[in-house]
């Protein structure tokens, strides 16, 4: 019989995953003195070694195109200079898609997960976002209200540091903000166009410090947040939550630990987490009083679905059958305009934040009879970015030719483009879900996910509205659209997949209660985006932080009372 190594120690809490959710739980619980073991499927992170911040493209001989120019053949997984270990495909860890389904699943395998590179856009959900069914009869309401989550948005923002301004706009609730940086030139023009069109355009809410906070220094405005920030001036769970939590002595970090399943006893309590130690390719078990899944929405669902036993034939915490269901991603559509007013703009350093300084929150939330339900926000790009591989392929396509004329056109147009990216709400539908593929296991022997994904008419109509609106904004700036996405984004590619272990008051239609605690398994909690009941047009990370904070406090209280 195979010998499985079991930890002699029983940890109060075992957290699976170290991104926004796992990092927040580890931080909150260790600060209360609770002993936590954190399992991460990838290696640890060393920012000084792993981040390529401030590197010039000519400091590597392939200039960022990758070995053999992989970028040119669509074979580069992730920007060469970006923060490490983000993958669309992981060798030996596949997933499958149903026939006729396009879906791409992005995964990070490193301490801090996707928070090392993410866009740092930090938007609260609006009050009405928690009541979608009550508003338009589609989807389901959340079991909690904005007012219940608001104190945790406050805590999360105050702790991670978010810049922004109080605006009093219902679709974009105000928060605890540091002052934002001023707008760039192209952002001033977008704002002027929006004023004319009666569309709000306000300082972006970004998890980037403009003032020192808790020993972290303010941003130095190099524009490279996506490469990872050596000074931790933006939020990443690795640098802002996990490294400090390690210093408390209460956190045990176990890396290269690929969780296979949760082991439950006859009383429906998780007693241990089974994982593969990737270094030795052997199974280990870590014993726990409670477990928090924060492996990312689909990975957490996969773990539950793979935790099958005679008592739980559909997987753990899945008597409702909802685990894997209600999967959504954000609706994405982008368009680029050329703005003649910006041609020949006096050169200056406008790197700023790695991302926008201004954005456009949804503005038609109270308009009835629009062609589609729900809404979207618009992200703004442009300016004199550091040139890289591909920066001028658009110019090559538009101008063709060569020689002096091409060189002059590229120089003249540099910095004169505005990119608008729509990020909209997808409503869960019955055709979109993930399940265990009965035929495929990964290199660790763990059954993999199979995805089903379909956009509905709602989302397709929304994209048409985006296309019209973006064109109007560009033209109001005196510009001309030069390129646009052919249509709606491929499912998964906005990397906002969520909803697969949803919360609710009714155990028949939800897996988790209002505290993200499993209805069926009292000592099991979920702290990533899997509990989300809907996918509003706000990037999910800040809500993961807030909800995970609330879940962690509830868990601590349950531990204290001896309920779990």
């Amino acid at each position: 019989m195979l010998q499985v190594r079991r930890s002699p120690k029983v940890y109060d809490v075992v957290v699976v995953g170290s991104g926004a959710g796992g990092g927040t739980v580890a931080h909150v619980l260790t600060a209360m003195g609770i002993e936590v073991a954190l399992l991460e499927a990838g290696p640890t992170l060393n920012p000084a070694r792993d981040f390529k911040e401030h590197m010039w493209p000519y400091q590597v001989d392939h200039r960022g195109a990758g070995e053999g120019g992989a970028w040119y053949f669509g074979r580069q997984q992730w920007g060469y200079f970006n923060a490490p270990n983000g993958y669309w495909e992981i060798e030996g860890e596949p997933y499958t898609t149903a026939p006729d389904t396009s879906f791409r699943w992005f995964r990070s395998r490193i301490l801090g997960g996707r928070t090392n590179h993410y866009g740092r856009i930090s938007l609260r959900f609006a009050d009405y976002d928690f009541k979608p069914y009550s508003t338009d009869g589609l989807g389901s309401d959340w079991p909690i209200t904005y007012e219940e989550l608001a104190p945790y948005y406050d805590k999360a923002e105050a702790f991670i540091g978010v810049s922004g301004t109080k605006e009093g706009i219902r679709s974009a609730p105000d928060g605890v903000f540091q002052p934002p940086p001023p707008p760039r030139v192209h952002e001033i023009l977008v704002k002027k166009a929006c004023d004319k069109l009666r569309i709000p355009c306000i300082p972006a809410r970004m998890a980037i410090l403009t003032r020192p906070l808790h020993g972290r220094v303010a941003c130095h405005y190099c524009g490279q947040c996506g490469r990872g920030c050596i000074t931790a001036s933006n939020y990443s769970s690795s640098q802002v939550q996990i490294f400090p939590a390690l210093k408390t002595g209460k956190l045990t970090l176990i890396t290269e630990a690929m969780v296979r399943e949760l082991i439950a006893d006859s009383e429906a309590r998780v007693t241990a987490v089974s994982y593969i130690d990737k270094r030795s390719r052997s199974e280990r078990q870590i014993r726990c009083r409670t477990v928090v899944l924060a492996a990312s929405a689909c990975e957490s669902a996969r773990i539950l679905l793979n935790s099958r036993s005679p008592r739980f034939p559909n997987g753990l915490a899945n008597s409702s059958g909802v685990v894997g269901r209600f999967l959504t991603d954000t609706v994405g559509f982008s368009l680029t305009g050329h703005i003649p007013a910006l041609e020949g703009l006096p050169r200056h350093d406008c790197d700023g934040f790695g991302g926008m300084h201004m954005y456009i929150p949804w503005w038609l939330w109270d308009k009835k009879n629009k062609e589609f339900p729900r809404g979207y926000h618009i992200e703004i790009g442009g300016g004199f970015g550091m040139p890289g591989i591909g920066s001028f392929h658009g110019a090559c396509r538009r101008h063709e030719g060569y020689g002096r004329a091409l060189k002059e056109a590229i120089r003249r147009e540099y910095g004169s483009f505005v990119h608008l990216a729509g990020r909209g709400e997808m409503i869960p539908n019955e055709y979109t879900y993930c399940e265990i593929d009965p035929n495929v296991v990964d290199r660790w022997g763990i059954p993999v996910l199979r995805f089903h994904f379909r956009w509905s008419e709602h989302e397709l109509k929304m994209v048409e509205h985006m296309r019209q609106t973006f064109t109007e904004i560009i033209e109001t700036m005196g510009g001309k659209v030069v390129s646009a996405d052919r249509g709606i984004s491929t499912g998964g590619t906005i990397i906002h997949e969520l909803g697969t272990i949803r919360m609710g008051d009714d155990p028949k239609s939800s897996a988790l209660n209002r505290y993200c605690q499993a209805h069926d398994v009292k000592n099991l909690f979920v702290a990533d985006a899997a509990p989300f009941v809907s996918n509003p047009d706000k990037n999910p990370t800040l809500t993961i932080n807030a909800l995970a904070w609330r879940t962690a406090e509830h868990l601590a209280e349950e531990l204290r009372k001896g309920n779990v």
Binding site: N46, A48, R49, H54, M55, W56, Y58, Q59, D61, H62, G64, A65, E67, G68, G69, Y72, F73, P181, P182, V185, L189, K192, K196, C219, H220, Y221, C222, G223, Q224, I230, T231, S233, P340, A341, E343, G344, L345, P346, R347, H348, D351, F353, F384, M386, P387, I389, G390, S391, F392, H393, E400, G401, Y402, G403, L406, K407, I410, R411, Y414, T476
Partner: protein
């Protein structure tokens, strides 16, 4: 000169680290390593890793026709575009076939039209041929392979040029230095507003 520039880079990065409060030994090592690579590339005449001498001469000429030197800055050959293409071709047989095939096509067309291989043709003869293959509107069974190849040569030359020091200087990119407070020059704002439909306030 390039050594001076490299030293300046290090200082710049170190200064940035200093005001931000961290530049660990490892980060410094990271910079040194990159600079060492740069120095190696700058030392002595480049020996192509993949292309033969004739192909190399043709490629150097082609990249300089795509992004030529002018009164503002050097051209693509001086910016290391041929070296960039050579390196990647040496690592990727698929890319190498695109280039050896494309360069051979250029030679055959030059011989057919002008009785000389591309690199030996006059500048006028060279540009006459490029004028045919630099535009999709000329696509035909006769020119198709040349047009396809030129798209590759153009985009990779442009990439190499504008990711080089001279290309970045040509664009006038001022960033990657860090600031203590983010500010935009007033004159830039006025310039754009004046030229926009909104007008300067």
């Amino acid at each position: 000169m390039s050594e001076d520039f490299s030293r300046r880079q290090i200082l710049q990065q170190a200064a940035l680290g200093a005001f931000a409060g961290v530049l660990s030994a490892e980060a410094a090592q990271h910079v040194h390593h990159a600079v060492a690579q740069e120095k190696r590339a700058a030392g002595g005449a480049y020996k192509p890793k993949y292309f033969n001498a004739h192909e190399w001469r043709t490629l150097v000429r082609l990249t300089d026709l795509i992004i030529p030197p002018d009164e503002h800055s050097p051209g693509a050959a001086a910016a290391g575009a041929p070296e960039f293409i050579d390196l990647l071709c040496n690592q990727n047989a698929q890319l190498a076939a695109i280039y050896t095939g494309g360069l051979a096509w250029l030679d055959r067309e030059a011989v057919r039209r002008h009785g000389k291989q591309f690199a030996d043709a006059t500048p006028e003869e060279q540009t006459a041929l490029l004028d045919l293959i630099a535009y999709r509107k000329n696509d035909s069974p006769e020119l198709g392979p040349g047009i396809r190849f030129f798209e590759w040569a153009r985009k990779m030359t442009v990439d190499a040029y504008y990711t080089s020091k001279v290309g970045i200087a040509n664009l006038g990119y001022k960033g990657n230095v860090g600031m203590t407070e983010f500010k935009i020059p007033e004159e830039a704002v006025r310039y754009a507003l004046k030229r926009s439909p909104f007008g300067a306030d």
